[in-house]
Amino acid sequence: MTYVLTGEDKPLTGFGALRAAVSSLDPRMRIVMTVIYAVTVVALDDLRVLSGALVLSMWLLAISGLPFQKTLKRMAMMDGFIIFTLILLPFTMPGTPMFSVFGFDATWEGLWRATEIALTANAVILAVMTLVGSMEPVTMGHALFALKTPERLVHLMMFTIRYIDVLREEYLRLRTSMKLRGFRPGTNWHTYRSYGYLVGMMLVRAIERSERILAAMKCRGFCGRIVLLEEFRLTRTDLMFAGAMVLALTALIWAEVAYAAA
């Protein structure tokens, strides 16, 4: 349904083959545990403990049933964005010099800080992608609503999820027609103007589409409320999973305190 969100060719959460341990768990519990996990890991400082957190995230990925390589590739893409900031850190943080490049000293403290950020960022985003990202986007909306997220925000999200795919196809159609007319992007005014017109046209079409959607909704008796049907049930497996996660997090916190004391 939302291929753009969940993968290039087909949704990561397929039916049948990919249905694994994590997708049978209560989505509400998964969201809550992910938030608790993220807050805990961000609070951790010790590199050994953070490595433990990354191992825990890897374990989550292993049981989630998501394709291993593809998910790790996405995580690596995020690393690509932050790598420059991380490389700069050893040179900008004061401390014990490690080596110097062109007269700039790299420090051990900076290297540890960079490693700490990299470990935290990867551990958290991996857990987010496996526990929450493995849901159908629509299920995530319903679960967020069940967790008392404002109704209108959830509706806004549902509409966004629904139309990302439609609008991407529209975008690709417009690109195809540009190509047919001999458009080749380059670094020039013509390119930027054409891309601007492309974005403008997408907005115009989007707003016209939304008018048709609203008309269709009114035609079907839309009265200012959208019913979210899905009901969730907390099972024993959910409680066991949550218990195991809490236990693992407690162990991480304990290790952090123990290392700090040592």
Binding site: L153, F159, L167
Partner: protein, 205 residues
């Protein structure tokens, strides 16, 4: 433009989250249920537009277009862009979870500001005049976003200051391109569908 988990200090994270909740609440207040389909479809189109890569010299940049979102949606740009960031973090792994508030403030805050400052100007006068104001608004929003990112990094620790400065310098070409593109987009939209903009009659406020 996304900051990841683990880089920022706790006060910055909490401050960002509080501001983001305020922004979302304000945005939702200005968003009657009748407008939600339009806001959702526009939010989706900004999500798709941010996947476009624009060539610049031998490299390419991807668009953010938060200024344009602010000009079209006004206050509603805040929840709309927040939804986009949430979906990106969860399904693409861009950004992070605890930094969601800070990222929302950095990207959606300038969008709303651009909408408030330039929104009315864009819908006034001829299409060309609107396009110039729109271009200024688009450039302003992305410049403000870059500054806000640099500011949140610098607040978290002095070791980030050089990186923050570098981020700003590296984004100057992006600012120029976003300004040009926003201007062109508004020029077209003004000619095809003038009622699209926040300041126009019957538009968003």
């Amino acid at each position: 433009m996304h900051i990841v988990d683990g880089a920022l200090s706790n006060p910055v994270l909490i401050g960002g989250a509080v501001l983001a909740v305020g922004g979302i609440a304000m945005g939702l207040k200005k968003l009657p249920l009748e407008r939600i389909p339009a806001a959702g479809v526009l939010s989706a189109s900004f999500f798709v537009a941010s996947l476009i890569h624009v060539p610049i010299g031998p490299s390419s940049v991807h668009l953010i277009l938060n200024g344009l979102a602010g000009l079209v949606l006004g206050w509603a740009a805040f929840p709309a862009l927040f939804v986009g960031l949430l979906l990106q973090a969860v399904f693409f792994g861009f950004g992070g979870l605890t930094v969601l508030g800070v990222n929302a403030v950095n990207i959606a805050g300038p969008a709303v500001l651009a909408g408030l400052i330039f929104g009315r100007l864009v819908s006034r006068g001829g299409p060309m005049q609107g396009a110039i104001w729109g271009g200024l608004g688009g450039g302003f929003a992305i410049a403000a976003t870059t500054l806000a990112v640099a500011f949140s990094l610098a607040l978290s620790g002095d070791e980030f200051v050089p990186a923050a400065k570098l981020v700003f310098v590296a984004h100057i070409p992006v600012i120029v391109i976003e300004a040009l593109l926003s201007g062109a987009a508004i020029f077209l939209a003004r000619r095809v569908k003038p009622e699209l903009f926040a300041g126009s009659k019957g538009g968003w406020t």
